[in-house]
C-alpha cells in the first residue's frame, strides 16, 4: 500500500484538520448553548468552562492549520504550470480542469470559491474562541453576544461545508498527486 507525498499532505489537510474541525461543530454549538444556559456562579460550570475553552481553542487552531496548509502547501501544487508541450496534465490539476469545458467549472466556480470562502472560518472561530475565553459562563448575561457567537459559528459551518465539499469533489476530478512514494503497509 503506497501513497504519494502530496496525497498524504492532502489527506492531512482535508481529512485530518478539516474533517476533525467539521466533526467538532455540533459540539461547539452545544458548548456555547450549554454555557449560556448554565450561567455564571454554577459549581460545575468552572470545570466545564475550562474544557469548553480548550475545545473552542482547538477548533480555532484546526481551522488555521486547515487554511494555511491548503493555501501554502497544497494550492501551489494545484496551480503549478506545466512546461510547454506537456500532454499529460495529471500532475497539474488546475490546467487539467481548464483543458476541458466539461471540467473547467470545477476550477472557475469550485476552486475559486473554495480558496476564499475557507478563510472566513478561522477568522470567525478565533472570534468565537476569544469571546468564550473572555466571558465564559457570563455569556448567559449577554444575550446579543451569545446570538452573535452562535450566528458566526453557523456561518463558519457553512463556509467549511462549502470548502470541504468542493475540496472533496476536486480531489476526485483532479487529484493533487506527486512527490515521493510513501509505503504505508507491505502486503505479501
Amino acid at each position: 500500500m503506497e501513497i504519494t507525498y502530496r496525497d498524504l499532505i492532502t489527506v492531512l489537510h482535508g481529512m485530518g484538520f478539516g474533517t476533525l474541525f467539521m466533526l467538532a461543530f455540533s459540539g461547539a454549538i452545544g458548548v456555547i448553548y450549554t454555557t449560556a444556559v448554565v450561567g455564571p456562579g454554577s459549581q460545575t460550570s468552572r470545570w466545564n468552562a475550562r474544557m469548553f475553552r480548550f475545545y473552542l481553542i482547538s477548533m480555532a487552531v484546526l481551522a488555521w492549520l486547515t487554511v494555511l496548509s491548503g493555501a501554502y502547501i497544497i494550492y501551489p501544487w494545484y496551480r503549478a504550470v506545466a512546461p510547454a508541450g506537456t500532454t499529460d496534465l495529471s500532475g497539474f490539476p488546475r490546467q487539467l480542469l481548464l483543458s476541458s469545458p466539461h471540467t473547467a467549472g470545477w476550477h472557475e466556480l469550485g476552486m475559486e470559491w473554495k480558496e476564499h470562502i475557507a478563510w472566513f472560518t478561522p477568522i470567525t472561530m478565533t472570534m468565537v474562541a476569544y469571546v468564550f475565553l473572555k466571558y465564559g459562563p457570563q455569556l448567559a448575561l449577554h444575550r446579543h453576544m451569545r446570538n452573535a457567537v452562535l450566528g458566526f459559528t453557523a456561518v463558519a459551518f457553512f463556509a467549511t461545508a462549502v470548502s470541504g465539499g468542493v475540496g472533496a469533489f476536486l480531489n476526485k476530478v483532479a487529484p493533487v498527486r506527486g512527490g515521493a512514494d510513501i509505503i504505508l503497509l507491505r502486503v505479501q
Partner: protein
C-alpha cells in the same frame, strides 16, 4: 475567571472586527479578480498567487481593526444589537463577494 460582570465592549470589538475582516476578505478577493494590476500586487508569494496577498491583507485589516476597537471599547458598554447587525451585514457581504458568479455579475461578465 473573574466573576464580576464584564462590560460587552471587548466582545463587541471582537464581533465587529470579525465582520470587518470578512468584508475586507470579500472586497480584496473581488478587487484582485476584477482588476489585473491589483491581482498582481496581491501576489506577494508567487506559488500561491493573489490568494497570498488577499488573505494576508484581510487578516491585517481584521487584526488591526480588532486592536483599535478593543482599545476604544475597553471597559465600555456598547449597543451590541447594532454592532451585531453591522457585523452580520459585513460578513454576508464578504461571503457574497467571494462567490464567483456574483463577482462575474458585478464585472458584467
Amino acid at each position: 475567571m473573574d466573576d464580576r460582570p464584564l462590560t460587552n465592549g471587548p466582545g463587541g470589538a471582537a464581533i465587529l472586527a470579525a465582520g470587518i475582516g470578512a468584508l475586507a476578505l470579500g472586497v480584496f478577493a473581488f478587487a484582485g479578480d476584477a482588476v489585473h494590476w491589483i491581482g498582481r500586487a496581491f501576489s506577494i508569494w508567487p506559488p500561491s498567487g493573489a490568494l497570498s496577498g488577499v488573505t494576508t491583507a484581510a487578516i491585517a485589516v481584521w487584526l488591526g481593526s480588532w486592536y483599535w476597537l478593543a482599545r476604544r471599547w475597553r471597559g465600555r458598554t456598547v449597543a451590541l444589537a447594532w454592532v451585531n447587525s453591522a457585523a452580520f451585514v459585513m460578513l454576508l457581504t464578504g461571503l457574497l463577494l467571494t462567490f464567483p458568479p456574483f463577482m462575474d455579475f458585478l464585472q458584467g461578465k
